[in-house]
């Protein structure tokens, strides 16, 4: 993919983030997602309480934080899979709070789940085809018009096979998704989400359970998504991965955004080290030292 004036010139991360301040709730020059006062509590526990959050278009933004920080809950809220107590947010400038999950997805914001949701008793290819949008044959009356949807089906199948090829699942296309391994299901879920052709993709721990060799290729996929102009927001615990590919990092603790910034800002942020990184920071610093160049 070339073209896209905004991205082709953005060779370095500093340009992509275009002078955003590394402080919690900082404004971005071209935000695709803007959330305000988003709050959700379960009984007495406030799981999410985000004052202000902006996600820059065309970047890879990591959402990190300790277990139970509210990362998945925030995903659920923003994508319409859970209801906020209060708060508003806009996607591509349009307010989408209160919209049900399927309408958020249609707007172009598609998410995956921490606990992988493969449709087990369907083939891998059928899983993929479910992701395609605007299918005539998915309407009840349209289902009977085989010659109308057959052409669409062929085009979708072609695209699905391309994606499966990219995700190394092409040999499994006719197998039941339930017969895949845990890591393969993660890959399938991500490929299926891409099948919807989203403008923003939200991945909840996409690397969990994926073997290190495959992690590398997943990272390449994620980077190439950004280079195609898509926005990626992902939750991850592996610091090497996060520091390696993120343009921006948002740190959540006890439901609040405690820090934001480029990887270099986060590494040296004392509050983050206290809340989350702790000893882990030393390890990843070493790993980086040997890994760079």
């Amino acid at each position: 993919m070339s073209s896209e004036a905004t991205n082709s010139s953005a060779g370095v991360e500093a340009d992509r983030m275009a002078g955003a301040e590394p402080v919690p709730g900082s404004g971005k020059s071209d935000p695709i997602l803007v959330a305000d006062g988003v709050r959700r509590s379960f009984g007495g526990l406030t799981a999410v309480d985000v004052e202000h959050l902006e996600v820059q278009r065309g970047t890879i933004t990591a959402l990190i934080g300790p277990n139970g920080a509210g990362k998945s809950t925030l995903f659920n809220l923003l994508t319409g899979f859970d209801r906020v107590d209060r708060g508003t947010w806009t996607f591509e400038g349009v307010g989408i709070n209160g919209r049900p999950g399927h309408r958020v997805a249609r707007a172009g914001m598609v998410r995956t789940f921490q606990l992988t949701k493969a449709l087990t008793r369907m083939t891998v290819l059928d899983n993929m085809l479910l992701g395609a949008q605007g299918q005539v044959g998915e309407r009840m009356a349209g289902a009977f018009l085989r010659n109308v949807w057959a052409g669409q089906e062929r085009a979708n199948t072609r695209r699905a096979l391309e994606l499966l090829e990219r995700f190394k699942l092409i040999d499994k296309r006719d197998e039941m998704a339930g017969a895949l391994s845990g890591g393969q299901r993660k890959l399938l879920e991500m490929a299926r989400a891409l099948m919807t052709d989203p403008s923003m993709i939200m991945l909840d721990e996409p690397m969990a359970g994926v073997n290190p060799a495959l992690v590398q290729s997943l990272l390449e996929h994620i980077t190439s998504l950004r280079d195609e102009g898509k926005t990626v927001l992902f939750v991850e615990h592996d610091m090497d991965v996060i520091m390696g590919i993120s343009d921006w990092i948002v740190v959540l603790a006890q439901g609040r955004v405690i820090a934001e910034g480029r990887p270099s800002d986060i590494r040296s942020n004392q509050q983050v080290i206290d809340a989350y990184l702790g000893a882990q920071e030393d390890d990843s610093a070493e790993a980086r030292g040997s890994g760079d160049d």
Binding site: F81, H102, A105, F113, R139, A143
Partner: protein, 329 residues
Amino acid sequence: MDIVSILAESTRSAFGPIAAIYALAAIGLNLHFGYTGLLNFGQVGFMLVGAYGVGISVAVFDLPLPVGFAVGLLCALVLALLLGIPTLRLRADYLAITTIAAAEVIRLVYRAGFAEPLTGGVYGLQNLADGFRVLNPFDGGERYGVGALSYNGNHMWVLVVTWGLVALMCGLVWMLMHSPWGRVIKGIREDEDAVRSLGKNVFAYKMQILVLGGLIGALAGCMLAVYQASIQPDQFKPQVTFFLWVILLLGGAGRVFGPVLGAMAFWFLMNFTDGLLRGMGSMGWFPFLQGPDYGAIQLAFVGVLLVVLIVFRPQGLIGDRKEMLINVK
């Protein structure tokens, strides 16, 4: 005891009008449970409103039979919407509880004293089949068929029409399930949230399937009214729904012909065990059993057969065992 005539009689019932009517109702249930995973424990409620749509239109208002069918189907549509709107957004168990209760409440309302001017109360409605028999190409006084498989003209007519409807509905189900629409439906059975995350309006799909399966159930009810020419509310007890579930699991849920084979096998078994037990009884094997006891023993006997089937063939007669096992792990 004449084992040959018992077998002949059982075979006759496997192809008879009742088996066809149950096959039709089970096709509706297959759409609900087999393909979508909706737990409908009140399919008999849809049959009831279908049957009474015909009954009330024909017997009380003297309307032509097609109007009766239309009224029955319309009632089923309303019932499906009433059941679905509050429950389909909730977890699957809520639909189960609501449908089983609703079907029973409907039966009690239809048999209540205040409803008697319309429904005939506990006595039900009679003389419902004239409009159907007028169209009968067979002679009501003759018998048709070969050997044991013969039926009188009126039953033959019901049988042909009902099996015709069964074939039509199987074709409809096949077309729907081999389309992208059917793919979404199967996706919902596997995981609603995943399907929702891909931009599909899960609620709307579930509503469509609830209505469609309910309409097919109501059609079975209409045919029952026409077949018997009379209906009573107490034919629509919850056990009918459970027979339908047995039929579905016996034949194979989520298969186009599952409900059809299931209905035939079920009615064969019912009549065969009944004939067998009575035959043995008449030879003095069960001196402790009175007339009505046979029914209870026979049901228990069918139950045991089903347990054996589920242990050794959990996927039903034509289900896919591989597909079934995937979900277990």
